[in-house]
Amino acid sequence: MLALAEPPAQAALAPVRVDVRGLSKSFALHGRRIDAVEDVSFTVRQGEFVSLLGPSGSGKSTVLNMIATLLAPTGGSILIDGKAVVPGRTTPQVGYVYQKDTLFPWRTVADNIGYGLELAGLSKAERHERVARAVARVGLTGFEAAYPASLSGGMRQRASLMRTLVREPEILLMDEPFGALDTHTKLDMHDVLLKIWEREKQTVLFVTHDLGEALTLSDRIILFSARPGRIKDCFEVPFPRPRDGVAMRETPEYAALFSRIWHALGEEFKKARKS
């Protein structure tokens, strides 16, 4: 199992950025112990795009939140760039994108995107320049002064993505960031994200329950089992880059890999429904 969760040979030379070892997490719920994550180990190397795929309740988001230091693990360890993370103390090189819209409603789009830079104490001029570039990259030009409440879901998620990316994090944790969007907007966001990633090659850990999304974006898919969350399997996604999210879905290789993972995933969805 552990061997499967290792990156492919050609990436093996890149340094390990995220190293998760024997991670587990249990909660107490109404006096009962719930094991959410059990003995999860994997590594992510520099510049890799890795998806954590599984049914809801499989603990994949819990794993991500522990890496983000939002949750404390019950067992095991997490190393980022060789250093153990401390729950509650954020790691500066890590950026996090939520599924839920967490743009600050009292700030304009530009002020939301520039928020992290403001915290870091950048000058107004520098902030302005970097925000303008970020806004242009995701097609939000003209909406800088708008408040989030007046934007569509897709636009909000673009702004949200740029709020994280404008700080240029080297490691990006994404928790079903496009889960709340309609199919069309979602495909659109895949292209936006792929364009950015193919240029900047952040190390990405992407949580999703959407197999198509995982295949479109990732180098590697780590499949989680239904609760308690364990790593069930691991798949290479060898499609060439740059990728076209829509065109690649029409190739026979895509169909073959899709059906292979689909069956493995299907079993877990069935288990998740039963419990």
């Binding site: 500066p92 839920k100 600050f104 304009t108």
Partner: protein
């Protein structure tokens, strides 16, 4: 006729009928005692014409009967220079004390609310005291406050403060406790320190709750000052009411009540404008 215009016509008609009843209904009492309730007795409610005359007198527009004084004229200036029976000065004193009561009440309410709202430990310790003090009808403390602070402005500000502070405190407290933890986490993950989180997330997101309390708070502030003035004051609208009452002058009381109504309307309109500017990010305030 457009709808708003017909609405306005109805409103004007209602006011006209009420004023007419108020003015003339009592004159019909000898002819039809069963048709005119005692409510219209001018001894208690005066008459619009008398109220208007009393207004002209108290506002120095007609210091002596039959003699109109123009604002800026010598008669007017001489009258407004007095402290006694001067509507302008009374209004000024009441407004000033309301303002300070409101300001101190809101500031301390917000600070206390943020403090207890963000510190579960402090909130736990303070909880029984807050409940106890909150159970006292604040107005009951007014005589004690007058005793302690004297009949000057300080006691009016203190009475006003004590009625405002709890209202604002409870709203701020609820607001600070209900800040979406995802905003706090998002901010932390974007590199915010605890103080930065407070300044850029907790305070702005609590402000919507604080503002919801400001319109009632300004009315409360005014109530606090008026009650303080009832119990013991040298000047102010409340004092004017008590004086008129002592002299059995319903018209004087009515003038004061109308001034309070106008002041109340102006204050809440001001708060509402400030609110829709500062909360312009909320959907319901957009496009205004």
């Amino acid at each position: 006729m457009s709808r708003p215009l017909s609405t306005l016509a109805w409103q004007v008609a209602i006011v006209a009928v009420l004023l007419a009843l108020w003015q003339w209904a009592w004159s019909l009492k000898p002819y039809a005692p069963w048709a005119v309730p005692d409510l219209f007795d001018p001894y208690f409610v005066s008459r619009p014409s008398e109220i208007f005359e009393q207004f002209l007198r108290l506002s120095c527009l007609q210091p002596k009967p039959g003699e109109l004084a123009m604002p800026g004229g010598t008669a007017f200036s001489a009258c407004t220079a007095r402290y006694e029976n001067n509507l302008w000065f009374a209004t000024f004193v009441t407004l000033r004390n309301t303002f300070f009561g409101f300001l101190t009440g809101v500031t301390s309410g917000v600070v206390l609310g943020l403090l207890l709202g963000r510190s579960p430990r402090l909130a736990e310790i303070a909880s029984p005291f807050v409940t106890a003090v909150n159970s006292i009808p604040r107005i009951a403390l007014a005589p004690i406050i007058i005793l302690a602070f004297g009949i000057g402005d300080a006691s009016k500000i203190a009475t006003s403060w004590i009625v405002v502070v709890f209202l604002v405190f409870f709203n701020t407290f609820e607001g600070a406790r209900s800040v979406d933890p995802d905003y706090v986490n998002a901010s932390r993950l974007l590199g915010a320190s605890e103080w930065q989180i407070t300044r850029t997330v907790i305070i702005p997101s609590t402000m919507a709750w604080v503002f919801a309390s400001l319109t009632p708070a300004v009315s409360f502030a005014l109530i606090g000052v008026i009650v303080g003035e009832f119990i013991g004051a040298e000047f102010g609208i409340g004092r004017l009411i008590i004086e008129s009452e002592a002299r059995g002058e319903a018209a004087g009381m009515m003038v004061a009540v109308f001034v309070l109504m106008i002041v109340g309307i102006a204050l809440s309109a001001g708060i509402q404008r400030m609110q829709s500017y500062l909360l312009r990010w909320q959907p319901r305030h957009q496009g205004r």
